[in-house]
Amino acid sequence: MIMKKSICLCACLILICGLLSGCHGKRGGSSFAVPETFDESKNIEITFWAKNDTNKTQTAIYNKAISDFESLYPNIKVNMRLYTDYGKIYNDVITNISTDTTPNVCITYPDHIATYITGNNTVIPLDDLFRDERFGLGGSEVRFDSVREEEIVPEFLAECVIGENHYALPFMRSTEACYVNKTFVEKLGYTLPETLTWDFVWEVSEAAMEKDSEGNFKINGGQVMIPFIYKSTDNMMIQSLKQLDAPYSDEAGNVLLFNDDTRKILQTVAAHTKNGAFSTFKISGYPANFLNAGQCIFAIDSTAGATWMGSKAPLVDIAKEKIIDFDTEVMTIPQFDPANPKMISQGPSVCVFNKADSDVVLASWLFAQFLITNEVQIAYSETEGYVPVTLKAQNAAEYREYLEAEGEDADLHYDVKIKAAKLLMDNTANTFVTPVFNGSTSVRDAAGQLIENVTKAVRRKKTVDDKFIDATYEEVKALYHLDSGTSGAGGGKKSLGPLPAASKTLIGTLIFAWVVIGFFVLKGKLKSNK
């Protein structure tokens, strides 16, 4: 009886297996074609996954955009879902790809889109839609003041190209800036150059570490001073490599990050972390908090964090009593070659997902277009150090007025925020982006992790020599699976070599345990048979 039952059970399982492995194939639809007419009587509901910086004003802007759009197109309803983290959006999209329940419109990064498009027609290429006469950019039948392709800042639009097609529209753009405590710099006896250089920043940071006889820092009379804090170490590495014209990665997906220029950068970082002149966000906390409390001199963060920086910052995370008075200067990040500044271009983009019903996709596209109209662009960019992605918005009278009113109040026209926006507008030609491919996110994370590892090691009093850096290279490669051939380049199995000792022990122990169990079971059976 038991035998029969187990055989039945096994047979069922095998049957299920067969069915299931069939279910592991590709899903996805056919490619999208712009429909002939847009059916206005059909009620369409689209989902929009948006990211905000945990900022109620930004949420309000999204809500207003949605209600404005819905009043223009009464047959379309937009359901928004808010996220504060790109990583979570990414995870949720991936999970939903396998069940065909992706959102319709989503705020995301081209790096992530590169992964989404490995599926079958998940994200639609937008070029046909751009040029459609009726519903495209500047199309005749679009019910709002649609932005034409030429009116979008070309650098920002080019960033949304993966392979040969545009897969996204830029939504907002920002860059990294160095927020400097000018008062302290001058107190130390230095004058700020027009463009910051790495040498200058390191020199001033080291000078700030001087302590007085009581063990307090001379510069602020307190116990805590970390002169140079960098928020996103991945940007730090990427921008430094770009400034040195050193390799990082390429369009084909090759990871070129682990080279000697990287090594030099890591050694410089290690040298200056030794007496505490440098730290990162992950180790110490938000640069803004330290800057505002007079415990940091060079705080590098996105321009989209400008409202947190400075003595009169409208958003603060620390107690008001701790904030000291100082002059904030917004400058480009430190450069190796001040004559040719280079900085990264960042910021959210919008993509549209493919669905079976092309009317739904068209409605999604219309909403995506609506997000780059002047009203939404100007309103959103005014919440932080963002810059509108359309020349149309940048040149609009309303936006110009906003920029002119720099410093008039410490809220909407907060000077640090507007200075940050102006910084990007002045340097648009100096920005760059890294190659986008399936797995580029991992390379970026790896770049940041290298600096984090080195900084952490120095703080724990370990020596950072070539041997250490080699070991870190290997560790980071394994951590992000950059050597496994499963990211963009390669894409095949790699030969793995012999099993490490721990694995051998594990397998050996398991086998041994079952032999012993088997022995005892047999012994029991023999006993009961007797």
Partner: protein, 276 residues
């Protein structure tokens, strides 16, 4: 009983563990009454606050519709627990009292299922529920959470400790198996059943990963989603005091339930049915 010294040592050790348990809760409540600015300004964490405030509790209820989440969680918990009781009692009864071919094998199979970590089955269940169109519904929330081999095992152990004599006596009286289950076994195992119910209630109340995956419609969020929302809402960085306030509020019903039923749980004395 132990000597006086032994008793004192006993009390000291018990109090020590009690303190270790209580301290984080004290900290939680303390943080929930510290103002947001005051909390962030403390470089060295303080053990007390000079100006307690209720603002975090207000924030907790206004920033997100916490009351609605409470209702959702309540419905979810009740349905899941009821379903679970039926399933678990029947299964434990079958394993403990009834005899059938392959009992051991099936029980080992059940046990082996207990070893599957939740994180593993979650993706497939997500696909299943989505394909059945049960996302953003109570059924979708409830169904995968109903059965837990953990409780079947516990109840089975308990049932097995009911002496054979009682069963024989019942048979002599002509009671059927089900009659025995309802009239004799359940009353005797009442403490364990109450325990299981409460444990399940707590599990449902605190569940986070599954509801988060399955629901994106705010009407179906549970309180745990609420805590996450508080964490990410408002202006800027994590509002830890408000989060703590939400956690305190959410835990209160559970503590109350435990306080009410704790005697029933501790009451293991009803078993002495073979006296005389």
């Amino acid at each position: 009983m132990k000597t006086k010294a032994g008793r004192i040592v006993n009390y000291i050790l018990l109090s020590l563990w009690g303190l270790i348990v209580l301290f984080p809760f004290y900290w939680m409540i303390l943080t929930s009454v510290k103002g947001y600015g005051a909390y962030n300004s403390e470089y060295v964490p303080k053990f007390f606050t000079l100006s307690p405030t209720m603002e975090n509790y207000i924030t907790a209820f206004t920033a997100v519709p916490l009351a609605k989440y409470f209702l959702n969680t309540f419905i979810f918990t009740v349905i899941t627990t009821l379903l679970m009781m039926v399933v678990v009692i029947l299964s434990a009864f079958a394993f403990a009292r009834l005899s059938f071919k392959g009992k051991d094998l099936v029980f080992s199979l059940f046990l082996s299922l207990m070893m599957i970590p939740n994180e593993l089955v979650i993706i497939t269940n997500f696909v299943t529920i989505t394909d059945l169109n049960l996302r953003n519904t109570f059924m979708g929330l409830v169904l995968p959470s109903v059965t837990s081999v953990f409780y079947i095992y516990l109840l089975k152990e308990n049932f097995e400790q009911i002496p054979e004599n009682l069963y024989k006596a019942a048979k002599v009286d002509g009671t059927s198996d089900f009659g025995y289950l309802i009239k004799v076994m359940l009353p005797i195992s009442k403490p364990t059943i109450v325990t299981i119910t409460i444990l399940k209630v707590i599990e449902c109340w605190n569940s986070y990963v599954w509801p988060r995956l399955i629901t994106d419609d705010q009407n179906y969020f549970l309180v745990s989603n609420g805590i996450q929302e508080i964490r990410e809402n408002g202006f800027g960085r994590e509002n830890v005091p408000a989060m703590m306030a939400a956690v305190v509020v959410i835990s209160v019903p559970l503590v109350v339930i435990f306080l009410i039923f704790r005697h029933k749980i501790m009451d293991g004395v009803a078993r002495g049915g073979t006296k005389g």
